[in-house]
């Protein structure tokens, strides 16, 4: 019941909020209320999981296992942060009263919840498709030529990806033909994994990896990311980089779960590692000399999904590290994109290197951007440090020192490239910023509360991983054939 509510409550709120008149202020309130309710329901799943965690309680095709719960919670928290932010955002920038904006956001939440909770791969696919399409109008939010181009690319590439994923699901169904168990249900697939036809399973893995990998933004299928993240409002980019990416990762993780359970881990891992390293390399190459903050964050997102894939591919500690990184990445991406959104709101232009002295002009956002640079690049004491260190350990534990050293070298390059831009934007600025708009009005409490909260969470994860999270991480990692480091 709670699961159904998680999925359909946002949609219901969206439907209820759609007819509201503009300017009533009720629409942002409805958004926040839905987000709060969603978070509360999600939290209740932590306190009291639906009876019998293993095998997952299944409401039709819905169920909650550790992996799904993790993704669901990440999305929920991120969405709540986004919803609070949206209150401030819609006051400043709300074409048509934000009707489409709020409806699409809630639709996205519904779709993302379906992805996280569905135990049926086809339904996961449907959710993925719906989530993809739900954010498309949001990319086109600015309604100019550049955002149109970005939305078009996003739609075509996502559609191709989603089509390939569908083909992958067909292959998986083919592989399952003649095997006992309900078709395409994850627990049944895992239970009967050894009986699946390996050839079709491999083909399914390949297509699902390319399909969902494109949605994650793994290189070389990442091309839509920088354009899209630059054009979408910061809030939407944050949700895409944090939540949509997590959903896509869940898709990859599910098929990896099945493949590993079938004893084909040796087949599944090299491509994951390859995509991971390639993503890091591409991010490094394009981060250098990048002049736009949001594009930069887009490439940073490519880097981080690369790390997610890498961890999954390394197995062992890597699976655990990857899952922790999922949490960290979502939170830090939300943090940074919201801050980038503040920069765009305050300066009225793109968050490019032409901006100077943000730490002084936008005291909270500027400092958060500066700190975010260190958080997103895995500097201690932020949470990403723990996950990246775990990934490096995983590489050595799996006997791949070269992978570890390649990864570290690329991370160093990425850091240099990111630091060059972010520091140029945040520091300095006295004398250069004579034309700066009055910053105070543009940095309302609603706009900084969420990034601050997300930053606090990321910082906390560097020191302290709460017990329930530990156990969920451990169970999810075990499902992926990994172990707790």
């Amino acid at each position: 019941m709670r699961l159904l509510a998680l999925c359909f409550l946002p949609a219901a709120v969206a439907a209820a909020a759609a007819p509201l008149r503009r300017g009533s202020g009720l629409r942002p309130a409805a958004l926040v209320a839905a987000a709060l309710a969603h978070t509360a329901l999600t939290a209740s799943l932590w306190w009291r999981p639906p009876a019998a965690a293993v095998p997952p309680e299944t409401v039709g095709w819905l169920g909650v296992d550790a992996l799904g719960l993790l993704v669901l919670s990440v999305n929920s928290v991120l969405f709540l942060a986004g919803a609070v932010y949206a209150v401030g955002y819609l006051r400043l920038d709300a074409p048509r009263g934000g009707r489409i904006f709020v409806s699409c956001l809630l639709a996205f939440l519904t779709a993302a919840s379906v992805v996280a909770l569905s135990q049926h791969l086809a339904m996961l696919w449907v959710g993925m498709e719906a989530a993809t399409l739900a954010v498309a109008p949001l990319i086109f939010h600015r309604r100019d030529r550049r955002s149109l181009a970005a939305a078009w690319k996003y739609l075509v590439i996502s559609s191709v990806a989603i089509a390939l994923a569908l083909l992958g699901i067909f292959f998986l169904a083919t592989a399952q033909a003649g095997v006992a168990g309900r078709p395409l249900l994850v627990p049944d697939l895992v239970a009967g994994a050894r009986a699946l036809q390996p050839a079709w399973l491999r083909a399914a893995f390949v297509f699902l990896l390319v399909g969902f990998g494109t949605k994650m933004g793994l290189a070389p299928m990442h091309t839509w990311k920088p354009d899209t993240y630059r054009e979408a409002p910061g809030l939407v980019s944050g949700l895409m980089a944090g939540a949509l990416t997590s959903c896509a990762f869940l898709g990859v993780a599910r098929i990896t779960q099945v493949t590993v359970a079938a004893g084909l881990g040796g087949f599944a891992r090299p491509p994951l590692v390859g995509f991971g390293l390639l993503s890091l390399a591409v991010a490094a190459a394009f981060v250098l000399a990048q002049r736009d903050l949001e594009r930069l964050l887009g490439y940073s997102s490519v880097e981080h999904v690369g790390l997610l894939a890498l961890g999954l591919g390394l197995g062992g500690f890597g699976a655990w590290g990857s899952l922790l990184h999922l949490v960290n990445n979502a939170l830090v991406k939300g943090w940074l994109f919201l801050v980038a959104g503040n920069v765009v709101l305050a300066t009225g232009g793109p968050a490019s290197a032409a901006n100077r002295g943000l730490a002084r002009r936008l005291p909270v956002s500027g400092i958060l951007l500066l700190l975010g640079l260190f958080a997103v690049t895995g500097s201690p004491p932020f949470g990403l440090f723990q996950s990246e260190l775990t990934l490096l350990r995983a590489a050595f534990a799996a006997g791949h020192p070269v992978i570890a050293m390649t990864m570290a070298s690329l991370l160093a390059l990425i850091f240099a490239g990111m630091a060059a831009l972010v520091l140029e934007m945040t520091l300095g600025g006295s004398g250069e910023a004579a034309e700066a708009p009055a910053p105070a009005a543009r940095e309302s409490r609603w706009l900084v509360a969420s990034p601050l909260a997300l930053a606090a969470l990321v910082l906390m994860l560097g020191f302290y991983i709460p017990g329930p999270l530990q156990s969920v991480l451990a169970r999810a990692a075990a499902a992926l054939g990994g172990s707790v480091p």
Partner: protein
Amino acid sequence: MSTLGAVSAVGTASTASTASTVNAAPLQLLAAGVLLVLVAGVARAALSRRPAAGDALYRAGFAAGGLAAALAALAVLAGASPPEVRITATTPGGPWVFGLDALSAVFLLAVAVAGTASALYGVTYLRREPHPRPAGVAHLLMAVLVAAMMLVVAARAAVPFLIAWEVMALSAYFLVVFEHDRPEVRRAGLLYLAVTHAGTLALFVLFAAWAGEGRDLGFAALAARAASLPAGGALVLALALLGFGAKAGVVPLHVWLPEAHAAAPSHVSAVMSGVVIKMGIYGLLRVVVLLGAPPAWWGWLVAALGAASGVLGVLWALAQHDLKRLLAFHSVENIGIILLGIGAGSLGITYGHPAMAVLGFGGAALHTLNHALFKSLLFFGAGAVVQATGTRDLERLGGLARRMPGTAAAFLAGAAAIVGLPPLNGFVGEWLVYRSLLPGAATVAGAAGDASRLAILAVPALALIGALALACFVKVIGIVFLGHGRDDTALAGAREAPPGMLGPAFALAAACALIGLLPALVLAPALRVGALVAHRGAGVAALDLGGLSAAGPMTVFALALAAALALAWLARPLLARGPRAAAPTWGCGYPAPTPRMQYTASSFAAPLLLELRPLAGVHERRTAGAFATHAVDPVLAGLVLPAWRGLRAAADRLRPLQRGRLALYVLYIVAALLALLLYLLAAGGGATPTGGAAP
């Protein structure tokens, strides 16, 4: 603040409770020190509206915290061995362990003394800056920096170590870019940050490689794994050189160091040069402690890097006309001396000469402490000069000894110490390093084929370093403090620094003199540190450390020399006959000498630099009226910047791949798919699956 869980003391807890409380005291003192320093910083930041009260609180809190930490260090150096504290962690990598041993203690002492002195100096220094910025944040960052360093040396597990390490690096970064309105400061900051982050990543890899499949990243667990590392831990040792070497400023990883030190406010330069870079040395020594006997190549490599850093560092320093940059290059030089000691120590372990090992490591440890004292002192002096004159350019300074006698005296003491002149502390440290390189009786008695005897070849390098350092500091003092001012506009308003800045400087000068005059105080602890690091080498226990230290005669020598100098100075008036007569400087008959005719910093150093031109990175500029040299860092200008530009150019060449063409983007997806399908075929995916039954 974190990592909630049970705190339990292990180790010698089984001894009598009274003994264990005494033994635990140093760690409690350290914790108190860290907390006091942090509280002082937070209080100062919170009281930014009432700077006077904030400053007073900050001074008191910082001094108390520094004192507590110093006491903890002294207690351990005096022989206390506190049990380790373990904190159950919720993060991966096992429990967080903290402890203090003699090696930690000597670095903790440096942090406490130089860090506290710098912080106290910084209070007055920042208040007097011409364009005052909110100083509260800078003081808070300083507190964080010092507290983090205290934790770096106390950490006994990789995760807390890395956290403290990076907090240290980042707070230092923010301090370096305190004056970030100047573009060159931002550039310097970026360079520092890029290098330090790369170094941190190297440390990540180091610990990851060391831990392997292990789940516990505690140092004890790592030490237990040391024997099973492939190739004698070659990877770990190489990464240690990379990660810790970058922090320490070993050539060629030093490129960030002069830039950052020149860009930072002077008290920050003092603490960075004095102690932050020493954390790299600490890391290297800690790795040796945990890893046991390093292979021979490592010892030779470290010694060679030390010689290169020392000689090149001082040579490049000689070429500088920027006072703070010059001092920064001297840090590279002194890191070189320290590395020579570490190299000798490591060779001593490898070749089974415990005395060599103990002397080398002990010398490295002592020189670390010494350098912390006199380099901070020198930066205090430089800061006073820069603040009084508004310039760091040597060619515009001169004659400040008459305007700022206190600063000049303190700077002179620091200079004499860093050059290694007896009877000051620099001499004592270098003496130990020399002795580790020189053959002992045992070595000579050993076979002629004993390769460790080749370490003697580093002796002339050390001598060259010393002589060049002397040349350089003669230049600095002569140009800055002696003679006549070269630029009246800069010097017109030069006044003596206030007591708030002179006090910390004199305190450090007194510490330098104390160690120099009473080497007996430090030699035995230094050699104990050396013995700790060398401990896995055989035979250390049998060494007579007291005999090895020669502390007695050294002390007699130093005291006698100091007494003779003082007596001679006091007796000097006895030689005077009649009243003094004033006479101007001999101008060789030229009737109208001007200050512009004085020897300049360029011309002073030119003969040496031109003699060693290929290494020195000096460009000459001769005009009819003037001779000037311009210094470039050959590594930065010839290696690092071209490499960086090359990388950016390569990245630019990749841009067309992402030109926004949808067709191309789809093609990438197709290509990825095809590649995977090929992989599938190669993995036997098609009709002939290998992993399962084909239908």
